[in-house]
Symmetry: C2
Subunit: 334 residues, 2 copies
């Protein structure tokens, strides 16, 4: 029986904000898997802001998506047919072959998933790449130390929600920025000390300085632009900024709006360090162990925003840039 | 005999580029020094870009100059009268009491200068704060390591000329940016591998990438603005930027023009670290020892631009922002 899988291909490179026209939904029949291969039905796929960068023509830190080819990204699937000894039908696997309903792949192109008792899709969020990003960025890149006051932008997003809670469970004062009442309520619920609704305040820098009158020691950067300017203005001397992403800049048509106030990096002896989670994969085992403990103790909660069906993946993706997700944005494929 | 000292006081805070109207030249009669004090005639004073920041009303990393009071800065002087046991007439001393022809001060407010055989004014430049800035920024902040390709802006300035030569004597490929034929010729003379005349190239980033087709590992930042943007564009993954100053920004009336392309800090895992030389004073002894050796071996040369008389100090200062100095800008007071 042929598995008909629908997949989303890049049809054209976006200029600015991507649109449905940049995608093409195509049905492909998967042949029987070859020896050593598995056939996988995807249950969940993720959409992440960084994927926007891969839709551009230029190579950045990952190769660009190719026009006419299926896009890629994290996915959780179930083995349907296995021609490999180490996997069997019914096994859950993670792969980088999202944006499609199913695929054949060599068995070593997927990884068997031990859910540690968590829902499988958590491994696209709090227990997956976004969770490890939060953990590595806060503890290693920003080198969180006792007494630090921590500012987090996109605090109610997939990464931000984990950053806030790790900082809180370690006893820090946390200031989170997010847009809209639902996100603000969630951040208060998870114990964030000062929540700034950036869409509601007239001046973000002033709001941040009011929340942290003595300044911030750590900034976890997910947004860029005005948020970075506010963090520069509010930084204490020797503050450390872990730069994870700048979602406000990804759809810029030129090099983005300029960031003002960088002279503060000199005046305050700041350290701004960008990072990619893939360079911190060595932390994965200790991260999963600590995370499991924290979840078991009720110290980490999380939210997901779920869209349904492969055909909804582009709109789920667009919503990231409009801030319409609370927590991890996921697409449920079955 | 009363010592009549002329001194420059801050008359008003500049808006944008400072002008002669912001200064007032006043003659004051120095009384005989009190017990424990010395009377010093300044021989040399320095003007440095950072002083512009102290002319603003707001406190930055140093307190602002006060209107109606003499400005301050590094100076080399000669003791005229000593009422302190550890200093005698004729001794050379360094102090932070520049912008005046002479002063009385407690003996512990000055430091006796051992010139190590160098001209005294070198201790306002290559052997002083600018030299230590170069040494600490390149070796500690940027953590120079074998094989690094180094880009230096304001490369023919007081700090830049030392950065270039330390990097060269350690065997690195060095790219220096400066404006004008005289500076370009000097940088070639001291062995800089690729000299970019930023005033003559149509696109600085393209010129830098042409000079360093595989990218730069270290950027020593003295300028800001377009230079920082070029360095971001040309940086290799994991490049380190030591941010010493941003002279292009000091006269900005608002927060300065924005810097574009900061998303590269994330995409390339860059580290941008600002620093102030005063936090690296522990390196002073090893710096002076190494520098003396290098000068003795002919491995470090330097240039000075000298103006004469206290009344010329404001115009010497203005010339810094027009790039009219080659090497250290000094004012000779006697």
């Amino acid at each position: 029986m042929t598995f008909i899988s629908r997949e989303l291909r890049l049809k054209s490179q976006p200029t600015g904000m991507p649109t449905a026209d940049n995608f093409e939904l195509v049905s492909v029949g998967l042949p029987d898997p070859a020896p050593g291969e598995v056939q996988v039905r995807n249950l969940w796929m993720t959409v992440d802001p960084y994927m926007r960068v891969r839709m551009n023509e230029a190579r950045s830190y990952m190769p660009p998506f190719q026009i006419g080819e299926a896009m890629q990204g994290g996915a959780i699937g179930e083995v349907v047919v296995s021609n490999a000894p180490n996997l069997k039908a019914g096994d859950l696997v993670t792969s980088f072959l999202g944006w499609r309903e199913g695929f054949n792949a060599p068995a070593d192109g997927v990884a068997k998933l031990d859910t540690h008792g968590l829902p499988p899709q958590a491994f696209l969020g709090v227990a997956g790449m976004p969770g490890l990003t939060a953990y590595a960025g806060l503890l290693r890149v920003a080198a969180l130390k006792p007494g630090d006051v921590v500012f987090v932008s996109a605090a109610a997003g997939a990464v931000g929600q984990v950053v806030c809670q790790i900082a809180k469970l370690k006893g820090h004062t946390v200031i989170g920025s997010a847009g809209g009442a639902e996100k603000v309520a969630f951040l208060k619920e998870i114990g964030v000390d000062h929540v700034i609704d950036y869409k509601a305040v007239p001046n973000l820098a002033e709001a941040l300085i009011a929340a942290a009158p003595d300044g911030i020691d750590v900034y976890f950067e997910n947004v860029g632009g005005e948020h970075l300017e506010a963090a520069l203005a509010a930084a204490k001397p020797f503050a450390r900024f872990a730069l994870c992403g700048m979602i406000s800049q990804y759809n810029a048509i030129d090099a983005g709006a300029g960031t003002r106030g960088l002279i503060q990096v000199v005046a305050k002896s700041l350290r701004l360090e960008g990072f990619l989670v893939r360079h911190h994969a060595d932390l994965q085992p200790v991260f999963i162990k600590e995370l499991s403990d924290w979840v078991g103790e009720g110290k980490i909660k999380w939210r997901e925003t779920v869209e349904y069906g492969i055909e909804s993946a582009p709109s789920a993706f667009f919503k990231l840039f409009k801030g319409e997700n609370l927590g991890k944005m996921l697409v449920k494929l079955t």
